[in-house]
C-alpha cells in the first residue's frame, strides 16, 4: 500500500456528533486509498423485489420480431467491437479504442424507445449507441481506420461518430463536455415545439464535471426535455466510483436540482432499461421534465483496449459479472425460455453479425484515406459552400 490511511480524515459518527471537527463533514469519510467497490450496505433506491421488466407495459406489447431485433442489435454491437479489437491489434486503428462490451443493453434499450423527435448524444464510448440508432458497420469501421468512407470522413475517429440524420449527435471526447450540448438539443426541441427529448449519456466519471452540473441546473430551471443517463460501469479509467464521487449515489445529485431521478440496478437487462428509460422519456415528452437515470452496468475490457486492466480490479470481478449478468446471455436465456429464440436462430444471428463485422473490416481496408486536400474541408461551412459564401478574405493561413 502506497499511502497510509490519513488519520485526520477518518471520522466516525461519534466524533462528528462530538462536534470536535468542523461541521462540513457530514458524511462518514473513509480512509484512502479505497479499493473496495461501493459498500453493499447502501440501501438500493430502486428495489428489484417482485419487479419483472417483462411485465412492464412498454415490454408486454413487444412482438417476437421486436425482441429478436433487440437481441440481434446487442449481438451486432459485440461482434462489431470484437472485430474492432482485432483490427486494433493488427495496427489498423489508431489512438484509442473504447469498447462498450458488457454495456450493450443500455444503448439498445434506449434506442429502442426513441421516437421520431428523440435525440441521442454520448461520450467517446459510442459504438453501441451508433449501431443502436442504425448507423452502419461499414461507415463506423472505416471511421476507425481513418478512411474517407468513414461516417466523419476519417476526421473524427472512433470517439467521434455522428449521424444527425439518425438523431445521433456524437461521439464526444471531452469527459462531460457533451452534456451541455445535449441540454441545448433539448432546448432547441422545446423551442421548436417538437414533442421530443434528448438522451444525454455520460459515464460515472463525468458526473464530477462542472459542465454536467451546470446542465442539470439549466435543464431543471427551464424544464427541458432531457434525460441525463449515467452509464455507471463502476470505473472511470482505473478509478472506482468510491474513489471519485462523494455522496450516496450519482443519480441522487439530481435532488439538489429538484429533478426526478432513478437508479436502474438491472442495467444488464435490456427490458428493464426500456421500461425505466421509457418512463423518463414520457416525462420529458408529456411534461417537458428532465430527469437523471443512473444505470448500473459493467465494462469487460480495459478503459481503452490498450490500457492495463489489473491495477484496479481483478479478473474474478469481471468473470463474476460475466457469468451472472452478461446482457446478451441473460436476454438470450429468457428468450430461449419463452421460445422466442431457438438455438438455430441464435447461431444464425451470431454468424450474420460476425459476417457483417468482417465485411466492414474489409470495406474499411479497401477504402482510401482522405487526401491532403481533405484536411482543410469541413472546417468552415462557407468554404465548403463557395457559391453561398458571403464573407470575403482569408479563412486559412499557411
Amino acid at each position: 500500500m502506497l499511502f497510509k490511511p490519513q488519520v485526520s480524515l477518518v471520522f466516525d459518527e461519534v466524533t462528528l456528533n462530538n462536534g470536535i471537527f468542523a461541521s462540513n463533514y457530514y458524511f462518514k469519510l473513509k480512509a484512502f486509498p479505497v479499493t473496495k467497490k461501493p459498500s453493499s450496505t447502501k440501501k438500493p433506491e430502486v428495489t428489484n423485489l417482485g419487479y419483472d421488466a417483462r411485465q412492464a407495459p412498454i415490454n408486454i406489447k413487444l412482438g417476437q420480431d421486436e425482441k429478436i431485433a433487440l437481441y440481434r442489435d446487442m449481438v451486432r454491437i459485440r461482434r462489431f467491437e470484437e472485430r474492432c479489437l482485432r483490427s486494433y491489434q493488427q495496427g489498423k486503428i489508431g489512438g484509442f479504442l473504447h469498447l462498450y462490451i458488457g454495456q450493450e443493453s443500455i444503448a439498445v434499450g434506449c434506442a429502442s424507445v426513441m421516437g421520431k423527435d428523440d435525440h441521442i448524444i454520448t461520450a467517446y464510448r459510442d459504438h453501441g449507441h451508433a449501431l443502436a440508432v442504425g448507423m452502419g458497420m461499414n461507415e463506423m469501421m472505416a471511421e476507425n481506420y481513418g478512411k474517407i468512407t468513414g461516417c466523419s470522413k476519417g476526421k473524427g475517429g472512433s470517439m467521434h461518430y455522428f449521424d444527425p440524420s439518425r438523431n445521433f449527435w456524437g461521439g464526444h471526447g471531452i469527459v462531460g463536455g457533451q452534456i451541455p450540448l445535449g441540454t441545448g438539443l433539448a432546448y432547441a426541441l422545446k423551442y421548436k415545439g417538437l414533442k421530443g427529448a434528448c438522451m444525454a449519456f455520460m459515464g460515472d466519471g463525468s458526473v464530477n464535471q462542472g459542465a454536467v452540473h451546470e446542465s442539470y441546473n439549466l435543464a431543471a430551471l427551464w424544464s427541458l426535455p432531457v434525460v441525463f443517463i449515467i452509464e455507471n460501469n463502476g470505473y472511470s479509467m482505473g478509478t472506482s466510483q468510491e474513489r471519485s464521487s462523494a455522496g450516496p449515489s450519482l443519480a441522487q445529485r439530481a435532488e439538489g436540482y429538484g429533478m426526478n431521478w432513478a437508479i436502474i440496478e438491472d442495467g444488464h437487462d435490456v427490458l428493464a432499461v426500456r421500461d425505466k428509460v421509457g418512463q423518463a422519456l414520457k416525462l420529458a415528452h408529456d411534461k417537458s421534465l428532465p430527469s437523471v437515470l443512473e444505470i448500473r452496468t459493467y465494462r469487460y475490457r480495459g478503459h481503452s483496449v490498450a490500457d492495463p486492466d489489473t491495477t484496479y480490479r481483478d479478473k474474478a470481478e469481471i468473470e463474476a459479472y460475466k457469468s451472472t449478468k452478461d446482457p446478451l446471455s441473460v436476454f438470450q436465456l429468457s428468450l430461449l425460455a419463452e421460445q422466442t429464440l431457438t438455438d438455430e436462430l441464435i447461431q444464425k444471428i451470431d454468424e450474420s453479425a460476425r459476417a457483417e463485422a468482417e465485411t466492414s473490416a474489409q470495406f474499411a481496408d479497401a477504402s482510401p484515406y482522405p487526401s491532403i486536400e481533405d484536411i482543410k474541408k469541413d472546417v468552415y461551412w462557407e468554404i465548403d459552400n463557395p457559391a453561398d459564401r458571403k464573407s470575403v478574405g482569408a479563412l486559412f493561413f499557411d
Binding site: 449521424d163 423551442y191 459542465a211 451546470e214 474541408k377 468552415y380 464573407s391
Partner: protein, 325 residues
C-alpha cells in the same frame, strides 16, 4: 442619415435579425429583465418576449454549451457574455465543441452561433475583466472572429455574423458602446473579412482593429498636423476571415507598417499580420513592421497606470514616428 451609438447599432442589428428569422434568440446573463448589463438589449424583452430574449444563470460553460447544442439543431443563438473575459469559463464548449463539431462530423453538423460581449480594458476593472482574446479565438480553425471599431460596422457585421453558418466570436468594447456615428436606417450588411480603409495615406500604414482604430485616426491627424505625414489607417474589422489583400496593398503603397491593437504582444493579431507582410511584401518594406500593443502584463487596475498600459493616441503617434525614422 441618423447618428446612433454603437450600443444602439448592436441592438438594431439583433432586433432586425430576431424579426427576420424565428430561429434567432438572444441569451445571456441579465439580458432580458435587467435590460442588459451594458444595456445593449434594453427594451428587447418588452418587445420580443421571453422566448426570444432569455436570461441565463451565471453558468457560462453550461449556457454557451447549451447554445452550441441548440445551434446544432438549427437555432441561431446570440450568446451575450457579460464580459467577454468570461469566455475562459466556457473555453471547452467554444473551442472543443463549437469550433470542432463541423470538422469531426465530416461536415454533417453546422454551428451557427454568435458569442458576443465586450472585450477590452481601460475601465479599471482589473485583469480578470479586461481580456482581449481575439488572437486566441482566431487561432482556432472553425471559428470566425469580428472586432468592430464603430457603430456602422457593428450593425452591419452583427447582422452578417448572425446569418453566418459558422460560429462567430464578436468582440465589442464598453468604451465604444456610447460612441456614435452615421448609421443608415434599416437593412445593410457588412461582410466578414472586408477591411476598411478609414483614412487614405502614402507614408505609413497604421493597421489595426477595434478601438485602437479610433485612436489611430487621431494619431494620424497629429502626424499630419505636426509633421505633414500622411498616414493610411486600415481597420481590419474581422480577424478571421482576414483581408490579406487590403493589408498588402496598403503596405505596398506606403512601404511602412505599424500594427496597433489592445492585445498583449505575444502571438497577437499584429504578430500574424507582421508575418504575412514579411512573407508576401518583404521587398516593398523600407522598415521592419512595428507593433504597438498593451504593455505585456496582466491588465493593471490602477486607473492612471492602466491608461499608460493601453495603446493611446500619444503612444501610437510615437510608434509611427519611430517606424518612419
Amino acid at each position: 442619415m441618423p447618428v446612433i451609438t454603437y450600443r444602439e447599432a448592436l441592438r438594431a442589428a439583433m432586433s432586425e435579425e430576431i424579426e427576420r428569422d424565428p430561429n434567432v434568440v438572444l441569451m445571456g446573463e441579465e439580458v432580458a429583465q435587467f435590460n442588459g448589463a451594458y444595456k445593449i438589449s434594453e427594451g428587447m424583452l418588452a418587445k420580443y418576449g421571453p422566448k426570444r430574449i432569455v436570461d441565463t444563470p451565471i453558468s457560462e460553460a453550461g449556457f454557451i454549451g447549451m447554445g452550441v447544442g441548440a445551434a446544432m439543431l438549427g437555432l441561431r443563438p446570440v450568446m451575450e457574455l457579460m464580459f467577454f473575459s468570461f469566455y475562459s469559463v466556457a473555453f471547452d464548449q467554444i473551442f472543443n465543441n463549437a469550433a470542432n463539431i463541423r470538422y469531426m462530423s465530416g461536415g454533417l453538423i453546422n454551428c451557427p452561433i454568435v458569442i458576443r460581449g465586450p472585450a477590452n480594458g481601460g475601465t479599471n476593472v482589473g485583469a480578470t475583466h479586461s481580456h482581449t482574446p481575439e488572437s486566441i479565438a482566431a487561432y482556432h480553425p472553425g471559428i470566425k472572429v469580428v472586432v468592430p471599431s464603430n457603430a456602422y460596422d457593428a450593425k452591419g457585421l452583427m447582422k452578417s455574423a448572425i446569418r453566418d453558418n459558422d460560429p462567430v466570436m464578436f468582440l465589442e468594447n464598453t468604451i465604444l458602446y456610447g460612441e456614435a456615428c452615421e448609421v443608415p436606417d434599416g437593412e445593410y450588411l457588412v461582410p466578414l473579412g472586408k477591411a476598411s480603409v478609414m483614412r487614405e495615406g502614402t507614408d505609413i500604414s497604421i493597421i489595426g482593429h477595434g478601438r485602437s482604430i479610433q485612436l489611430a485616426l487621431k494619431a494620424a491627424d497629429l502626424l499630419k498636423q505636426k509633421h505633414n505625414i500622411n498616414a493610411e489607417v486600415v481597420d481590419l474589422r474581422s480577424i478571421r476571415p482576414l483581408d490579406v489583400e487590403t493589408i498588402l496593398n496598403s503596405v505596398k503603397k506606403t512601404s511602412r507598417c505599424l500594427y496597433v491593437e489592445e492585445s498583449k504582444p505575444f502571438c497577437s493579431v499584429g504578430a500574424m499580420v507582421a508575418c504575412l507582410i514579411s512573407d508576401q511584401a518583404f521587398d516593398y518594406l523600407d522598415a521592419p513592421v512595428k507593433r504597438l500593443t498593451s504593455i505585456d502584463a496582466p491588465a493593471i487596475y490602477s486607473p492612471p497606470l492602466e491608461k499608460l498600459q493601453l495603446p493611446s493616441v500619444e503612444r501610437i503617434y510615437q510608434a509611427a514616428l519611430d517606424t518612419l525614422k
